[in-house]
């Protein structure tokens, strides 16, 4: 039997069968899901903005009023570091523009591949752009307060443990999720583009 004969049955499959919802009911469902999706995005953006405002208010205040120049510099470093982290995370976020879904498949794959590569880079270098400025800034802030050796050592220990935990978690995410995703996208693109 030839492929064309098989193909004849293909179009027929899926032409029958009941639609779970149609007309007004389908519209109501799809509108509801769309609104829920938009609400989720708005809530996330609101949370991020609130975190940015919190960081600016608290560490901005300390930047101006802290007792020593070391604490003031530490607070400024934490504040700018946190804002930089937020900016980089937002920039690396997958494209949420609804129009993007209507682009040709190869274009969309290329864009998504670039985004995943950027995410891999971000996660692999998390120590430098995320942990280092916040960690160094926090230590400077605490040392500048003149809280004594034990307070400084405790801060250092907490920051070291937290940093290692974050670094490992990021490494796991890259290995288990991002690299496989990158390879899948690259393979897909190759399958489409290679003659």
């Amino acid at each position: 039997m030839s492929l064309d004969e098989y193909a004849e049955s293909w179009i027929e499959s899926g032409s029958g069968g009941g639609e779970p919802a149609a007309g007004e009911e389908l519209l109501a469902r799809v509108r509801e899901r769309s609104e829920a999706f938009e609400r989720r995005i708005r809530r996330r953006d609101l949370r991020e903005s609130a975190a940015a405002v919190f960081v600016v208010v608290v560490f901005g205040y300390e930047t101006i009023t802290a007792g020593s120049w070391l604490s003031r510099m530490g607070a400024a470093l934490v504040m700018t570091g946190a804002l930089y982290v937020m900016w980089r995370l937002r920039r690396a976020r997958p494209d949420e523009d609804p129009a993007a879904a209507g682009r040709p498949v190869a274009d969309r794959l290329r864009i998504r591949l670039r985004q995943v590569e950027e995410q891999v880079r971000l996660h692999e270098t998390v120590l430098w752009w995320y942990l280092a400025p916040l960690g160094v800034g926090s230590v400077m802030f605490v040392v500048g307060l003149g809280s004594g050796l034990w307070a400084t050592l405790t801060t250092l220990a907490v920051i070291a443990v937290l940093s290692e935990y974050v670094r490992r978690a990021n490494g796991r995410l890259v290995r288990s999720d991002l690299r496989p995703r990158r390879e899948r996208l690259a393979r897909l693109l190759r399958e489409l583009e290679e003659a």
Binding site: L3, S9, S13, G14, G18, E24, P98, A106
Partner: protein, 169 residues
């Protein structure tokens, strides 16, 4: 009903079969296929206001549906009793009666299984061929040249044909 809603319902009604077949191919099991189909409906709804009419509505919808399908990761275990699912594209015909219809359903099942053994990108081309899309339309949906479509399709048809024959034996 607004013009947008009206256009949406018309588009979905005209392309329902295509989206369901696409969902079935790209999802790992019947439940995932249902979720994927719902996801496609949502994406089409969200993207429709930005559709500028530069391509045929059916071509545009297929792009949205295929992009949505390729964005999701496939579940590993494929359920074999997919036709028992009420939303499975083959289900109604599987229970339709006469022996010929059953044979047709088996044939389509074999085709689905053969498609399942292709790579993800090849699967997209195979589907577009089976949906009787022209080279120009395939090129527009996938974003590759018509020449390229021709070369690749020739190879994929041969591969698919071999896989189907293999299953026949």
């Amino acid at each position: 009903m607004s013009d947008l809603e009206d256009r949406y319902l018309r588009l979905v009604a005209e392309n329902r079969g295509r989206m369901r077949r696409l969902s079935r191919v790209y999802a790992g099991d019947a439940e995932a296929a249902r979720d994927l189909y719902q996801e496609m409906l949502l994406q089409v709804w969200r993207s429709l206001p930005s559709f500028e009419g530069r391509s045929e509505p059916g071509t545009w919808l297929y792009r949205v549906a295929l992009n949505t399908a390729l964005q999701r990761r496939r579940r590993r275990d494929r359920r074999r009793d997919a036709t028992l699912d009420p939303d499975d594209p083959l289900r109604d015909r599987a229970f339709a009666g006469p022996e010929e219809r059953l044979e047709e359903v088996r044939r389509t099942e074999r085709l689905y299984e053969a498609i399942d053994r292709l790579g993800e990108g090849e699967r997209a081309l195979a589907l577009l061929y089976l949906e009787e899309k022209s080279y120009a339309e395939i090129s527009e949906i996938l974003g590759i040249t018509e020449n390229h479509v021709g070369v690749k399709l020739h190879r994929i048809k041969k591969k698919l044909s071999d896989l189907v024959k293999e299953d026949d034996r």
